[in-house]
Amino acid sequence: MTQPAPVPLSVRVRFAHAVVQLLADAHGLDVLHIKGEAIDPALAAPDRHGTDADVLVRPSHVALLLDGMRSHGWQMHNTFDTGSPFGHAAGMHHELWGYADVHRLFPGVTADPEDAFDLLWRDRASMPIAGVACWVPSLTGQVTILVLNAPRSGWGQSDLRTAWEAADPQRAADVRALVEALGAETAFAAATGDLDRHRGRRDYDLWRVITRGGTRVEEWQARIKAAPDRRAALRVALRAPLVNVDHLAHQLGRQPTRREVARALLDRARRGVREVASMARGRGAAR
């Protein structure tokens, strides 16, 4: 028997799934394993592997799961607020098990997060990962998540082919029904090339920026517009100009100093000004 050799990433990710399930079981928490190593083999391309363990957690259980993970050596490297424009996941890291993304909601889903989780949870299935029984969404739920994830994923086109385009008519109908129940029509349309039919929806601009690109200011405006209510919009608005300290720490390979945070803040402010000027010029030129 030997002590750990370099462990393949896919093996490490599978262990991370198993650890999260074990901790969830120990604390009576509801967790669904999604994407990557948790995809049913029938839906995944043969060479598809995850780089981290993605789990969707019942929103009211998220804090308890994070506490449980922290007490077993996991550290947060991305907070919900700084991880992505959607504020959907916290990034956790363990020196042995690698990375795990703890989702409190899934990007594109506009239904109440607790209700959305229930929709996926009620039809869950069990799947062994690293020999541990893990809860995963039903096949319909997995297809839905892969399609909603496609616009933001390097595996997006591959997932669309194997999970969505290969779906039989009944599965496709079930997926569309689930998408509607989850209020995820805009994201679904963004993935399947039908986004422009959803111009009137509040999250249209955000998915347009995600799928077709845009400036930082456009993304910021789209995030504010996509917020479900004024309070949420205000939170986005207040946070958008701030520096993503987590991202800066990753770039530097260490925690940034206060001076570096201040410099990044100023740099970001300057970029914001330039982008506004550029958009103004663009509009002027178009007239």
Partner: protein, 109 residues
């Protein structure tokens, strides 16, 4: 095999243990089994005979592990029985395997 002909399982994977196999490919392929105690580790890498013993213990789980290992490597049971038993005892001591018969001769045939 009928129910009456099946030997009672003896070994099973510990309740907080995960394992993954990596099947090697190519000329210098090494097949490994990674075994971990959850949630804190350690994470162990089993190679060669160690991986074989683990795999047989998990797949078969009865007292024929040593015989199966001997058969797989082409030696007599006598030549490997003691080492296999010792290794299985070690896995049990580490909590990676559970021996439902408790202490005793582990891999005898």
């Amino acid at each position: 095999m009928t129910e009456s002909g099946r030997r009672a399982a003896r070994y099973r994977v510990g309740s907080a243990v995960a394992f993954e196999s990596e099947i090697g490919s190519g000329a210098d392929a090494v097949t490994r089994v990674y075994v971990a105690s959850l949630p804190d580790g350690p994470l162990l890498c089993l190679e060669g005979p160690a991986a074989l013993i683990w795999t047989e213990a998990v797949a078969v789980g009865d007292s024929s592990v040593a015989a199966r290992v001997a058969d797989a490597v082409g030696v007599s049971l006598d030549e490997v029985a003691q080492d296999v038993a010792r290794f299985l005892d070690d896995l049990v001591d580490r909590g990676l395997l559970v021996d439902d018969r408790g202490a005793g001769s582990a891999g005898g045939g």
